[in-house]
Subunit: 500 residues, 2 copies
Amino acid sequence: MQAYRSLATTFSRLGAIEDASGILGWDMQTLMPDGASEMRGDQLATLSVLAHEILTSQKTADALAQAEDETGLGEWEQANLREMRRTYIHASAVPGDLVEASSKASTRSEMAWREARKQGDFAMLAPHLAETLRLQRQIGEAKGAVLGLSPYDALLDGYDPGMRQARIDPLFALLRATLPDLLGRAQARQAARGPALPLLGRFPIESQKDLGLTLMRAAGFDFERGRLDVSLHPFCGGATDDVRITTRYDEADATRALMGVMHETGHALYEQGRPAAWRHQPVSQARGMSLHESQSLLIEMQACRSREFVEFLAPRLREAFGGEGPAWEADNVHRLYTRVEPGFIRVDADEVTYPAHILLRYELETAMIAGDLAVADLPGAFNDGVSRLLGLTVTNDREGCLQDIHWPGGSFGYFPTYTLGAMGAAQLFAAACAALPAIRPALAQGDFSALRGWLRENVHAKGSLLQTDELFVAATGKPLGAEDFLAHLERRYAADAAVS
Amino acid sequence: MQAYRSLATTFSRLGAIEDASGILGWDMQTLMPDGASEMRGDQLATLSVLAHEILTSQKTADALAQAEDETGLGEWEQANLREMRRTYIHASAVPGDLVEASSKASTRSEMAWREARKQGDFAMLAPHLAETLRLQRQIGEAKGAVLGLSPYDALLDGYDPGMRQARIDPLFALLRATLPDLLGRAQARQAARGPALPLLGRFPIESQKDLGLTLMRAAGFDFERGRLDVSLHPFCGGATDDVRITTRYDEADATRALMGVMHETGHALYEQGRPAAWRHQPVSQARGMSLHESQSLLIEMQACRSREFVEFLAPRLREAFGGEGPAWEADNVHRLYTRVEPGFIRVDADEVTYPAHILLRYELETAMIAGDLAVADLPGAFNDGVSRLLGLTVTNDREGCLQDIHWPGGSFGYFPTYTLGAMGAAQLFAAACAALPAIRPALAQGDFSALRGWLRENVHAKGSLLQTDELFVAATGKPLGAEDFLAHLERRYAADAAVS
């Protein structure tokens, strides 16, 4: 096992570099002064190149080949070695100068996006985005050539190992066929019940933050190994033993930041629950972004927007903000938290219309990577899609193709993982509740322990031991599908009987 | 110039790694959750080892030798090459595993220090400090062997290039011989004038912070390329184009944090004024820690505690905190800011007694590195020294040898730079005021521009172009000495005539 042990040392070092980049990236989005962006780009690019050099060195290649001939590896070591090989393939397929150019371009493009979004001016972003796209297409082509995949599948595989366009297409087609009717019935039921009462007032940021921290604690976030901060675009980042989630507050809205916090807490519980014995080894990593998103959506959508949890939440909301009257009753708060309405902004979308945002972005990014859609034509294509899929007319790119950081940041192939994650969340939550019927009643007491225990055992502590569908089969008895998600939407939004 | 150019690329990469470590180190002291300390230690150690490997590689060694034979290098390139060689010597003298062990030990020791200081329990720190000292002695021996220096001189040279124990000894002996009498006369003058009136009240942190930011702006701190935050032990850190200073606030004290902020602002102006055309090259670096400290003390002690600047400051203090009465008059505020009183805590010490704290630490750390003082005997020796040099009795190590982060953090050879810096500050300020007599009157208007311009030209923008004493000769007409410092103390604290 000498070669394997040498690889473990190498990957431990790579893990530390990745963690360093994680903190630098978090800082860039939360605290960094604007004038530091070029130098920060240099720092991240340098770390990225160093990691790339270590990972793709002849020494690593030789050790991988030798380790794959070694005997005596246990189940975890074997999975670790498989993930090392996967990581190596993804990295070695891309030349070092392309890695560096792409990292720098993405940083510049992200900074341009901040300003372009502020001013609603796509032209400010366009040349930077074009360069980022050009380099991502090159990366997709380079990886695809080695993996025997199309450029888009190769990029997708970097976010969600094993996922393919051919697997997504029928799942998304099912959603596209089913959701318009479901949305119509959900809106009809909503109209019949009359509008939910708004929570009116000013809701001090400090109180929102305190309540968010209380809920994070209830869900089991470990503050000895993590933080909550503020950024323009909420995310879960940071490093091993230092998981940092962010949110943004609006003093006119009592409910939104709170669910944002619980969403990121779902991501954080996954990160904090990864197998500690394998820290910095590839097998300890989360199993792809679809599964990651399943954890955030499971906490936010399945658990925290459930009728049971709102029973626990509503009196605490009322107390935190000094609310009075029927608007603050659990029934009404639940109706606010399960309101359905097509809108422009993806991150504000409800569960029923969210998939439309993803279907659109998936359609556009597959076209951009295939070379069928130029950056100059993006705003038009985006706005056409919003009209077609959501029935809305975009009048400012800030509400259109400038709303998301993903493409400027160089993330093509990431968007589908949101909706694959929604499917996974529903499927895992259904299995957890079937195995432990006490989960739902406990949520009404603000008690996440049974749910968290099930997730820790069946998902978090597995790291990357299992491939994604192996994990779904082990945990739920079947591979990832759309049925539980559609059944959940039907039950919560369209059924005549009790809401869930 | 091919070899030189290749070195410039290598050192640019090293600069980016150092910058990354700078931000990670800042984060560790300001925001990082406690549970992340081990992993952060891994991150910093990994970056340190990577930088060490690059710097000490055969490729760097060969390029250095070749570049030193190349012709056509300009003045800056030659100085850059000289600094590259110096950096290389310091690094290559120390084996990689010693660098890594020492980095990890220092991180652990720093974390133990936080807790030990909180609890006033030296025993909690002792084993960690012993390990840190052991490794620093090894580093000193390894460097000394190559540089032909004693271990202590070798460590000192890492903080203050060219500085030697033999140069410090007579300077410190002069202070030791002169200051007790000066202190006596200062205290007598102070007693004759009667006590300064205290500023009483509670001073909200937000107001202290706002006033600090106002003064930072007046001094010329560039907030597009830096930040002000909070940490237990104030420092100036961060990275190129991202200079981060910290302070700590006390709601019962209106004046202390403010001067702390201006002290760190002095450091920051140096960092922000380094030659931009040479970013990430060794020649762009600040010229050692004594000169760095001269910049912080020049802003804090020479400029901001001057009678002129207090004229500008006093009404703003009064306005910020709603102060009323004679205590808030400039005369009284100046007396508060120039009060002399022997005390336990170095960072709270006045200008006249501060050198005693340094003489003690210098005496102890030279003994520890020489192997003449064991960590177990440190508290006793420290307390004896406080009694001998300051006439005070230490009753809790929190007020004694646990007060400073330097030794736990592995910094031996750093302390003398504080008092060398005080000498340099007096010498540079005297030369600046002689060259531009408008500097002092401008400070009474809160206008630092003339002073900053002189510093930028004569100190900041020089980077490491000149050796320290060359810079002092060019800027002040003579090498670094103690005369201007003693003359300044005499004038401000002991003279019968007008205070300065």
